[in-house]
Amino acid sequence: MTRNTLIVFVILVLFLPFFPLLIWSFAKGWVFPQLIPEQWTLQHWAQLLLPTSRVIEGLLQSLAIALTTTVLSLLVGLPAGRAIGLIEFPGKEALKLFLLTPIIVSPLATLMGIQFMLIRLGLNGTILGVILVHLMPTIPYMTLVLSSVFANFDTGYETQARSLGASPIQVFSQVTLPLIAPGVVVGALFAFLISWNEFLLTFFVGAGRVFTLPMVLFTLLQGGNNGLVAAVAITSIVPGLLFLLLASKALENEAALGGVGNV
């Protein structure tokens, strides 16, 4: 019984910061000692739809960047994960550690170097430039998750399918992909969320011209309109929560997540 009480307590504490967000997003002039606002309003939510708040623009840019980054890191992570998960070769541990550096080492110095190059390439302050730097944290996670899934993968199925006359493309789409699907879902979830939530990389390379949702939120935060800030904050949670719910089944796959626990 104490076990369940403890779990409920933990969940309650984890949910605590969401309460003021929810209340503020519907509150009209909620001054200090009031525990509950005296007046409610939908004006903050209506304001989101106005082009002046730039929320719709931010939502679309965030979505485009996160989806492209996810697809690109999947394309790169699939072969890399296969190599690390299935093949023994000299220098494997070193290469694996090298692939992980971007998620452990501070990107600040690197960003200043990359920015120097991007300015010369005309990519500073463009969506393409932002996607490029978002690949730095997403590829390592994708590779980690997929390598762990491939480590439990039996290539015998592929051999079998090949010997029965399937083409390489058929083998991949009908044999390999279904078998590694949980890993692909978890890897894609991580990549999407990292890109969607990324602040510092976009802040540096976006140069104020790429306006993702975190940029919108950061700008509004300086303004001090708590109601609007809360409404934008809640909006930027929605895609991640939806994705998490959709992937909840795959998140129980220990092979996919064990990869992150085996750096």
Partner: protein
């Protein structure tokens, strides 16, 4: 790992070993190439800027002046100390609490685990806003205290955000990282064969002995990996201490950012030198971890 080598493979049985190895390098090439070009290349360009070999003001005299300026920056040591303090305390606490939470959730239902992962997909910025509106002197908790009659005004509420002890920053990281570490540890726990623990209990080990001598050693590599990622992230984090932390001293990433965006462009090499010093510290941490892990492997082989 590498089970593919052991397994019989009728079609490829005749292929020489190094052919498979070359295939591995080829498969890794895109990932290693992109990371090498972006991260490694970026670091090299940063270094060249810091010694004055290249720069936005054109190439200058090559020197290590920027590093001297960085080390003698009066704020440098205090900022480094603050960054280490936040990273060590937050990583340590979230790791210990996550081990507990993972064990609690181990036999709990799917929905309980999912609810405990709630902060996982939440952007740090949203967490920051939530914590500000919750813990600031006019926040929800302060209002609650006032209405309970525990405080007479918002002045009486202890300062928990932008405070010198960085309580708000620590609480934010605990809130955000405990679900992450717990998720990884739960996956590790699920892959552990429960027979070992049952055996230990049958042979008379107490619950505590069973946890300390059987369960925890099997979780060790998962704990090390997860805390390495968390430490690296917190040590390099920018927006959380920027918005929730103390204004003086500031963490190292904020010091780097301030120097980099200084209107005095001649301060740029110093900013980049500071950034490189910051990266070196995280690289040292990785080296320490891989030493810990390799020592672990050796001791296992020794048994």
């Amino acid at each position: 790992m590498g089970t593919g080598v052991v397994r019989p493979q009728p079609i490829r049985a005749t292929r020489p070993q190094f052919f498979r190895q070359w295939r591995a390098y080829l498969l890794l090439l895109p990932a290693v190439g992109i990371i090498g070009l972006l991260f490694g290349g970026g670091l090299v360009l940063a270094f060249l800027q810091s010694i004055g070999a290249i720069g936005i003001l054109g190439a200058g005299r090559i020197s290590l002046d920027a590093y001297w300026a960085a080390f003698t920056n009066p704020e440098f040591l205090r900022s480094l100390g603050l960054s280490l303090y936040i990273a060590i305390v937050a990583t340590g606490l979230s790791t210990i609490l996550s081990v507990g939470l993972a064990l609690l959730l181990r036999s709990a239902g799917r929905w309980a685990s999912l609810a405990c992962q709630i902060t996982l997909p939440i952007p740090h910025l949203v967490g920051i806003v939530g914590i500000l509106l919750l813990l600031s002197p006019s926040g929800l908790i302060s209002r609650g205290f006032y209405n309970l009659g525990w405080i007479q005004s918002d002045q009486d509420f202890p300062l928990l955000v932008n405070d010198t002890a960085n309580i708000g920053v620590l609480l934010h990281f605990l809130w955000k990282e405990i679900p992450f570490v717990t998720l990884i540890l739960l996956a590790v726990l699920r892959s552990i064969n429960p027979a070992y623990e049952m055996q230990a209990r049958v042979l008379g080990a107490s619950r505590w002995q069973c946890f300390w001598n059987v369960t925890l050693p099997m979780m060790k590599s998962g704990i090390l990996s997860a805390s390495l990622i968390v430490f690296g992230y917190i040590f390099a984090s920018f927006e959380v201490p920027f918005l929730l932390g103390s204004t003086r001293p500031r963490t190292l990433p904020i010091l780097v950012y301030r120097a980099f965006t200084d209107t005095d462009l001649t301060r740029r090499p110093e900013a980049i030198a500071l950034g490189i010093i910051l990266s070196l510290f995280s690289i040292l941490v990785i080296a320490f971890y891989s030493w810990l892990i390799s020592r672990d492997h050796k001791s296992i082989q020794g048994v």
